[in-house]
């Protein structure tokens, strides 16, 4: 006798909680073969603003945590993701199509990407920081510090690996994030937030919105309390968003190539996009 499955409601993730859109709206998400998968929340301007408030509130705690602590939390995300591997493979395959083997490789790479960035939390300052030999009796050093609240427009095609590849480097250095998931393929992202919620990631460090890029992204790009924006998945809308971001001189990372191979070695570029270098002078003398 067959059993009727219990389906999941795919919601937003704001401040560590899972609300529906305050607008009460949703939109149907279909799979690679056109089949109905679920209704996802259609986030509004108000949801975006709530998410920024949550991210700002989480910033002092997360940026103030030791790098070692952040590294352990990110590694915990990898552990939790590995435990849900089968679920992610199902969802990525449903969203992106293709053979199961390819979806599985993408999920494995996404798990390993968290491990890669977990290892960077306490090393970036050792690689990107410096003691500067200034000409004079001064001790002078420079360190990278997180920029603040970073808005992220996730890649549209790579629903999970692309998302993790842009999100993890933002939070690894101590920023907090407001992420707009792939518009057509948002379900793996929502499941990822369930992992984040059970991985010791403090509420508000990562906030996830699902919905329309053209509706939500402009509000994030022009928001006065957002310090930087990663337009990875913004595509052609990126130009207008970059222009809007100039209002408070947000740091902007321009749209990624839509065909980018996210399995490639990520390097340190994304880590360094969302840090500020702080230099400290101190006299030396008896």
């Amino acid at each position: 006798m067959s059993r009727l499955e219990v389906r999941k409601t795919y919601k937003l993730y704001i401040g560590g909680k899972f609300p529906r859109s305050e607008s009460g709206r949703s939109y149907p998400v279909t799979g690679a073969r056109g089949q109905f998968l679920a209704n996802a929340a259609l986030a509004s301007r108000k949801d975006a603003r709530d998410a920024v408030v949550a991210a700002r509130a989480a910033f002092p705690g997360w940026s103030g945590a030791t790098a070692y602590n952040r590294g352990q939390v990110l590694y915990r995300v990898a552990e939790m993701m590995e435990g849900r591997r089968a679920q992610f493979v199902d969802e990525v395959q449903a969203a992106e199509g293709g053979p199961r083997r390819v979806a599985a490789a993408e999920v494995d790479a996404a798990v390993d990407r968290w491990v890669w960035y977990a290892g960077w939390t306490d090393k970036l300052a050792q690689v990107a920081g410096a003691a500067n030999p200034v000409a004079g009796p001064f001790f002078n050093f420079s360190l990278p510090e997180p920029t603040g609240v970073v808005a992220v427009v996730a890649p549209q095609r790579s629903s999970l690996l692309g998302l993790v590849s842009v999100l993890a480097p933002v939070v690894a250095t101590g920023n907090t994030a407001v992420v707009l998931a792939s518009q057509a393929r948002p379900l793996p992202a929502v499941t990822l937030t369930e992992v984040l919620a059970t991985s010791d990631v403090p509420g508000g460090v990562v906030n996830l919105l699902t919905g329309a890029v053209e509706e939500v992204a402009p509000w994030l790009a022009s928001h006065g309390d957002v310090n930087a924006i990663d337009l990875a998945g913004a595509g052609l809308a990126g130009v207008d968003l970059e222009r809007a971001a100039a209002v408070n001189l947000k740091r902007v990372r321009r749209p990624a190539d839509p065909d980018l191979d996210w399995t490639a070695d990520p390097g340190t570029g994304r880590l360094l996009s969302f840090v500020e270098t702080k230099t400290v002078w101190h006299p030396v003398g008896i």
Binding site: Y68, D112, W120, D122, V127, F139, T268, H282, V284, I286
Partner: protein, 478 residues
């Protein structure tokens, strides 16, 4: 102020299950030694025999080096950095999971207070593996070229003062960089290394990547001199370090040595006295003074010498010496009868040479090896207790007037491992740091360690650094 009386609060031993005897860990399993020797390891606080441990002879060293070489060629050097890193993350996690067991075992075998093994040693061990796990796939970012290569098989010899922590300092960077290892723990503290071997098994670490040979000096010598060892890493006495430097002469072996010290802890008149006194205590009485970087020479500015000394003695009188497993214990047992004899002899020399001796009033247990926290004042630079490493809870107090004099006295030693500076003036801290010939300078703190922070000495305190990005260099062909 009178010392408060505390009820005994012993940590349970039940978390540890000791086997009556242990073999050698070679090629991923415990094996009997070829040469058949064995020795006993005891608890220095009770003199109780904890277990019998195999003594590795030359044939065992051959076998272990061969296992490490095989693992290097067939598996470990072929794995991606990412996969090596994931093994190290696993090990870090198992150490965290089995933290209490490791802490209790360390305290049993070493004699150090449980609050130190539990709150300092074991957390640092896990952190060290976690830190270097993250480097395994980032070696190209470490500043040694785009694709730095490992060395091969590392022979590593560690001391008894921080048995598991020294293992972590050796094994974690070696494995992260892609080497395989043969490690010899100290003969008086082999047990946590053998438990670490079990952890490697639980992590499914490929056989032969980590090999552990228990034994004494001759085992270490055979390992150092083995022709198929590419790298020698040693932590221990300057005397043995010199022998190793001689032994590797003319070979292609890369060597790092972390040796003795006679650190100056310099207190200026403007330093907050209570804070400085806590730092002095932490600097020299942490781990019974069995610390190579211990601040064993207190250099205090003349104008505050009396105040600091009075306050220090008052503080020392409140330290609790006794059962290392008791959670309130501050000072545990001296690690061995041999070490106790060495401390006693040097302390007697201190008295004979004219320094004045004061020991904290505490009752020493009847069994085991104990030495009370002791302070010598009126010490001259020529006194042996101001020149030689005592490696016990003994502090020598000297005075100075100017910063320059402090630097001269601090540097007046063949050692150069660490130093401490206590002052409220930031520029003076940095000036002192610039002029002190020491590998680590602590300002307004002492004896702090972190996996991200390089550690190692100038002069006869050895060469090479462990910890941090710099610690990778010791295990890379650069």
């Amino acid at each position: 102020m009178a010392k408060l009386e505390y009820a005994p609060a012993p940590e349970s031993r039940s978390v540890v299950s000791l086997r009556p005897s242990y073999g050698l860990f070679v090629g991923g399993e415990f094996v009997d030694p070829v040469d058949g020797g064995a020795f006993k390891t005891i608890s220095p606080s009770t003199e109780e025999v904890l277990a019998e441990v195999a003594e590795a002879g030359p044939a065992d060293v051959d076998r272990a080096v061969a296992a490490a070489r095989r693992a290097y060629g067939r598996t470990w050097s072929r794995l991606s950095g990412r996969e090596r890193g994931k093994y190290l993350f696993r090990i870090a996690r198992i150490i965290q999971e089995r933290a209490r067991e490791l802490a209790v075992l360390e305290t049993l075998d070493n004699g150090k207070p449980i609050k130190e093994s539990r709150d300092v040693d074991v957390p640092l061990v896990a952190a060290h593996f976690f830190y270097y796990a993250g480097w395994a796939d980032k070696l190209g970012h470490a500043g040694f070229g785009p694709d730095p290569r490992p060395l091969g098989v590392a022979g590593q010899i560690i001391p008894w003062n921080f048995p598991l922590l020294m293992l972590a300092w050796k094994v974690a960077p070696a494995l992260a960089a892609g080497n395989t290892v043969v490690l010899k723990p100290a003969e008086t503290t082999p047990l946590t290394a053998l438990l670490f071997a079990e952890i490697c098994q639980q992590a499914d670490l490929p056989p032969g990547v980590v090999n552990i040979l228990t034994g004494a000096g001759p085992t270490g010598r055979a390992l150092v001199e083995h022709p198929d060892v590419d790298k020698v890493a040693f932590t221990g006495s300057t005397e043995v370090g010199r022998l190793i430097a001689e032994a590797v002469a003319g070979s292609a072996k890369k060597v790092t040595l972390e040796l003795g010290g006679k650190a100056a802890n310099i207190v200026f008149a403007d330093a907050p006295v209570d804070q400085a006194v806590e730092g002095i205590v932490r600097g020299v009485f942490f781990n019974q003074g069995h610390v190579c970087c211990a601040g064993t020479r207190l250099l205090v500015q003349e104008s505050v010498a009396d105040v600091v000394l009075t306050s220090l003695k008052r503080r020392l009188a409140t330290l609790r010496l006794g059962d290392p497993l008791d959670k309130n214990t501050d000072i545990g047992a001296i690690n061995s009868a041999v070490q106790l004899e060495r401390i006693r002899a040097l302390a007697d020399v201190g008295e004979a040479e004219g320094a004045s001796r004061w020991s904290a009033p505490c009752t020493l247990p009847d069994r085991g090896y104990w030495f009370p926290p002791t302070v010598f004042s009126g010490v001259a630079q020529t006194h042996r207790i101001a020149r030689e490493e005592i490696f016990g809870p003994v502090l020598s107090v000297l005075t100075f007037r100017t910063p320059k004099e402090a630097v001269e006295k601090a540097n007046n030693t063949p050692y150069g491992l660490s130093a401490g500076v206590w002052t409220e003036k930031g520029s003076r801290i940095l000036w002192m740091a610039q002029h002190l010939r020491a590998g680590v300078v602590w300002a307004n703190t002492f004896n702090h360690f972190d996996p991200g922070s390089p550690f190692g000495g100038y002069k006869e305190s050895g060469y090479g650094r462990e910890g941090g990005r710099h610690g990778l260099e010791a295990y890379l062909d650069v």
